[in-house]
Symmetry: C2
Subunit: 122 residues, 2 copies
Amino acid sequence: MKQDTSFDWHEPGLTIGQVAQRSGVSASAIRFYEAQGLISSDRTAGNQRRYHGDVMCRLAMIEACQRVGLTLAEVGRALAGLPPGQAPNAEDWHALAERLRTEAQSRIDRLSQVLRELAPPA
Amino acid sequence: MKQDTSFDWHEPGLTIGQVAQRSGVSASAIRFYEAQGLISSDRTAGNQRRYHGDVMCRLAMIEACQRVGLTLAEVGRALAGLPPGQAPNAEDWHALAERLRTEAQSRIDRLSQVLRELAPPA
DNA sequence: TGTTGACCTCAACAATTGTTGAGGTTCTAC
DNA sequence: GTAGAACCTCAACAATTGTTGAGGTCAACA
């Protein structure tokens, strides 16, 4: 979904405001995630944050993970396997994605099981 | 604490300690859920809680729902459709289960979608 | 060069989801 | 009828996940 016509994925020039606007995640939340080690940034000489494009990936992932009940700590542990800062390669993402999907699916399965047990065939 | 070999689903005699032990949910959490309106109890003349068997259903469901990212408020809204106190009938549970499963699955789908987008075919 | 909006840090507050403990009551088994 | 385990309420604390605001700095444009 690139509604973002011109944008170099690796340009390390995104300000926190730009990231916030594009991702829909508030600047305060972004700072918070950074403080928790979920994302990282470069700093300008004047100490302002500058983000790589891959931060958008991470933010989308964080949101989706939270929606399926993973805590930030869990997401953090998952992301910890990724090369920090730079854009991770496809393999990295793939392995990560697989783990997350598996975990999420197992939770759904558990819920389904509980629900099935609770609503027996009358 | 009489070890319960026989157990009538509708007997309104479970103490909070018994419920806690059987469900694995702490007594404090049970009281908390009750304060939030997620479960209910009868009281003895001496003001102690006595639970119906259906509380076990609800507790299992609450746990499973939380694991897939639903808040207690969301679970509460879902449970609100159920007849309070007494054991709900199969239809009630069925409709509820369907809604929950749907919501949970849509969250998983969203995560899967995000993950797919993030890990493109290299 | 000046101004103005975006950014910085840090601390305080807030909602959610409980746990812990104090102080008192009830229930059950002897 | 009494001891002790289990229960009660209420308030304080705690972790997680942020938001808000104060007070100050940076950067981009005229």
